[in-house]
């Protein structure tokens, strides 16, 4: 009985961390990937970061 409940408690963190990765990582990858594309397409990191977020290039490049 103890081994079953221990197994279940061990499975729950896997589910929760799996869910968190599933919910957050795609968004982070997409934002970084898209903004990275915007940065590469023109020089000047600070200017382009600003441009990326102000003109919503992150969204349009998706």
């Amino acid at each position: 009985m103890t081994s079953v409940s221990t197994r279940r408690v061990k499975a729950l963190p896997i589910i929760i961390w799996g869910y968190i990765i599933w919910s957050l990582v795609p968004v982070l990858i997409a934002v970084i990937y898209s903004c990275g594309k915007a940065f590469r397409s023109a020089g000047g990191l600070a200017t382009n970061m600003l441009r990326c977020f102000t003109t919503l290039q992150c969204v349009t490049q998706l």
């Binding site: 079953v4 409940s5 729950l12 968190i20 795609p26 968004v27 997409a30 898209s34 998706l62």
Partner: protein, 293 residues
């Protein structure tokens, strides 16, 4: 006692009025469009504001289309997608909420923060992120391509739409479930275990019945917007093969010469949801009465 009751009623009045007004007025406008007429030249909806002059002929045509015509498939598909997405949402959301409420300990705040974090990103943005990842040249498609899986996720795949719905709505399920599970009297579960119940029996006989109201609330909370959802399908599929009722309403209202049909579908969907909502209200009041006893 009367004074206190009157005070509470007075405090609830502005909110109740706000909800009633902003529900009743738009709903009446939709009904006036649904039972009104169509401009024969410009094909615009002409609302009939006088209920005595409402015409139900178009309603009958749409109803027969839903029961035995082309809209039957869309209705059935919507129900299948929503039910599948809800089952998957519960399969993911319940263990997450359970762990948060029962076993998270010191990490509870961090985990809560991470679960709420997707809310900081707009729903549309999150779906667009998936469009990016799932496109044939996207990172996800390229990654699974390494293992020989070459699948066009965005080419009208029902799995993509259902997973999109789950992805979009599961946080709305976790939070009310967590709120319910956190308030449960876990000593009852311990008592059941002490009396010889296995963890599975204790979960089935004690935890689930106590969490029933929260489960129903969370289910209703995600089912209602899922039924009317159209942008998830629009972004992740855009195929007639996966069209849901929301897409039909969007099509009739924005892109066709039959906006009246869109309004009729809104009324039909609202009626369907009203039945689900009345079931929820009945079951929660029943649970409340049982608790009082």
């Amino acid at each position: 006692v009367n004074k206190a009751a009157r005070l509470w009623a007075a405090l609830a009045a502005p909110g109740a009025f706000w909800l009633l007004f902003f529900f009743a007025v738009p709903f009446y406008a939709v009904a006036c469009v649904a039972f009104g007429s169509i401009d024969p030249i410009f094909r615009d909806a002409i609302p009939q504001w006088n209920p005595l002059h409402w015409s139900f002929s178009e309603f009958g045509a749409v109803f027969s289309s839903v029961t035995s015509g082309p809209l039957r498939g869309v209705f059935a598909r919507t129900i299948v997608y929503v039910v599948s997405a809800m089952v998957m949402s519960f399969a993911i959301g319940f263990p997450v909420a359970y762990y948060l409420a029962r076993h998270a300990g010191k990490r509870r705040m961090l985990l809560m923060l991470l679960i709420i974090a997707p809310f900081w990103v707009n729903y549309l943005m999150r779906m667009l992120a998936w469009v990016n990842l799932l496109s044939p040249s996207g990172l996800f498609s390229r990654f699974v391509g390494i293992f020989g899986i070459h699948y066009n996720w965005l080419d009208g795949s029902p799995i993509t739409v259902i997973l999109g719905l789950v992805y979009g709505y599961v946080p709305f399920l976790i939070l009310p479930l967590y709120a319910t599970l956190e308030r449960l009297d876990w000593r009852l579960v311990e008592a059941a275990r002490d009396l010889g119940a296995t963890s599975r029996q204790a979960f089935r006989v004690v935890t689930v019945p106590m969490a029933k109201a929260g489960v129903a609330a969370a289910g209703v909370l995600i089912a209602l917007p899922m039924f009317g959802d159209y942008y998830t399908n629009d972004l992740l599929s855009r195929s007639p093969k996966t069209e849901m009722l929301g897409n039909q309403i969007d099509y009739y209202i924005n892109n066709s010469s039959q906006p009246q049909r869109g309004a009729i579908l809104v009324i039909m969907l609202s009626t369907l949801l009203l039945i689900a909502l009345s079931w929820y209200l009945r079951s929660t009041s029943k649970i409340g009465k049982e608790r009082v006893r």
